[in-house]
Symmetry: C2
Subunit: 267 residues, 2 copies
C-alpha cells in the first residue's frame, strides 16, 4: 500500500476513521474538532474541493483521491478499500470532505465499509456550503414569517437520473441547490413550471469562502442566461428565495447589503 507512511506504526491496535467536514474552503471555517483530527491523523485522504490551506494544517501523509469527473478519479470502491486498509494497519485515518460529510458527501459507502471491517468510525460535521453562502451574502436562509422551510437539493445525484429539484418548493421556502450550474437552464424551466414566481430572488455564489468567490444576483427568470453571461460554473451554490409576502421581493431590500462585511468580489 503505497500510501502508507514509511514510519507506519506496527503492532498498534486497530486504527480509526474520521469522516471530517472541511467546510466550504476557508481554513478558519474548520471546526476545532476537525482541526484536532487533522493534527493527530496519520494519513489524510482528500477530495478535489478541499482547500490547500486546510491541508497545510495537518502533518499527516496526504493522499489525493480525486473525486472528480473524468481522468484520475478514484472509484468509490477503491477509496473505501484504502481507507479501511489504512485503519486496519493501525493508522488514524482522516477522510477529508469539503463541506459537511452528511450533506451530499457520499459518506454512506465509506461508513458502511468501515463498519463491515469492524473499524471505529465517526463523522465530524462541517459547515455546509448553504450556511457559508448565506453568511457571505449576509442574509439568512430562513426569515421568520417569510421563509420557514429550507430545501437543499442537488442536480447531480444519481447516475443516469435527473433530480427533480422543484419537488417541495413552494411559497415560504428557500431552495438551495448544490452543483447545479451545468443544468441551470433546465432548473430554471422546472422551477417556473412548478409555479415559482418569475421574480423570485436568486443568488449564485461560486467558490464560496475562497479567494476567488464570486456572487451573482438575479431573478429566477433569466438566471441561467445571467450566470452564463457572467461565466459562472460549478462549484457554486444557487439560492432561490420564494417568500410568503410580495414585499420581500422589493429590489430596495438588497441595497442594504452594502454594509455587510465581506471580502468577496461582487459581479
Amino acid at each position: 500500500m503505497s500510501f502508507l507512511p514509511a514510519d507506519a506504526p506496527t503492532g498498534r491496535l486497530l486504527g480509526r476513521i474520521a469522516l471530517v467536514g472541511a467546510g466550504p474552503g476557508a481554513a478558519d471555517l474548520l471546526t476545532l474538532r476537525a482541526l484536532e483530527r487533522l493534527r493527530t491523523a496519520d494519513v489524510v485522504f482528500y477530495d478535489r474541493l478541499v482547500d490547500p490551506a486546510v491541508l497545510a494544517l495537518t502533518p499527516a501523509r496526504k493522499v489525493f483521491v480525486g473525486k472528480e469527473v473524468g481522468a484520475n478519479s478514484w472509484p468509490q470502491t477503491r477509496i473505501n478499500a484504502v481507507i479501511v486498509a489504512a485503519a486496519l494497519a493501525g493508522l488514524r485515518v482522516v477522510r477529508l470532505k469539503s463541506g459537511d460529510p452528511s450533506v451530499f458527501g457520499r459518506a454512506s459507502e465509506e461508513l458502511e465499509a468501515a463498519r463491515l471491517a469492524g473499524i471505529p468510525v465517526e463523522i465530524v460535521p462541517g459547515i455546509t456550503a448553504a450556511s457559508a453562502a448565506a453568511a457571505s451574502l449576509c442574509r439568512p436562509l430562513t426569515e421568520r414569517g417569510q421563509t420557514e422551510r429550507l430545501l437543499i437539493a442537488t442536480a447531480t445525484c444519481r447516475p443516469g437520473a435527473v433530480a427533480k429539484v422543484a419537488a417541495g418548493f413552494s411559497a415560504g421556502s428557500t431552495l438551495v441547490l448544490y452543483m447545479a450550474m451545468h443544468r441551470l437552464a433546465e432548473v430554471e424551466v422546472e422551477l417556473l413550471a412548478a409555479g415559482a414566481p418569475a421574480d423570485c430572488n436568486v443568488d449564485i455564489v461560486q467558490h464560496v469562502e475562497t479567494s476567488s468567490e464570486r456572487h451573482l444576483q438575479s431573478r429566477l427568470q433569466g438566471m441561467a442566461q445571467a450566470a452564463s453571461a457572467a461565466g459562472l460554473g460549478n462549484p457554486a451554490i444557487v439560492l432561490v428565495c420564494w417568500p410568503l409576502a410580495e414585499s420581500v421581493r422589493m429590489p430596495a431590500e438588497f441595497q442594504k447589503l452594502a454594509l455587510c462585511v465581506t471580502d468577496s468580489s461582487r459581479i
Copy 2:
C-alpha cells in the same frame, strides 16, 4: 447602558457586530473564525441554548439576552437596540446564537437594525443542529440513490401560525424538524396524512452535542408516544427519513451503528 464594560473605549471609531454561530453545544464544534471573534470581542450577547463552555472561551463582557418563552426574556426590539448601541459606542459586538444564525436564527431583524444604524455587520456560520445530529448518529442526511433532498423545517416559526411541516416531504427526502417536540403528535398525524410510510425511520436527538445528549429511534407511526414515554422534549432534532427504496428501511441496517464512535447515551 449597564452592559458596557467599565473600561469601554472612548473615541474609537464605529464598532462592528458579528452574528456568530455557536454550533450545537460542544465547544469544539465552534469554527476557528467564531473562536477568533469571541476572543477579540468587547461584549457578547448570548441566548439560552449557548453552552457555558463556549462562553468560557471569551474574555468579553457577557450579557444574557434570554431568548426563551416566559419570564426574563428580552423582546427582539430590545436586543436589536442594545447590540446597535454597543457597536455605536465603538465596541466589537458578538451576537452569539446557538447553531447557525442563518437557520431559524432570527438573524434578519438584527442585521436590519445594524444596517439601518450604518454599522458593519457579518454572519459567522455555525454547525447547524441537523449536521450535528447526523454526525452523532453516524448517518448522513442524504444518501446517494435513496435520499436526495434535505428538508429543514420548524414547528415554531410564526407566532399564532402552525407551520405545515409536511410540505414537500416525499420519497427520496430526509426531513429535519427543529423545535417540534411540543407538537410531535400533530406532526406525526400530518406526515402520515401526507402519505409518508408508517415505517419511515425516525431519529430524535435531544440536547445534541452536550453531556446530556439522548437518542431515540422509532418509526413514524408511534414516534410521539415513544418520545413521550422516554420523556424527551425540546431542544431536540427530529429526523424523518423517507427513502426511495424499501430495502433501506430494514431494521438490520441499524445494527451496524454499534461501531459508531460516540459518547452519547442511547435510549
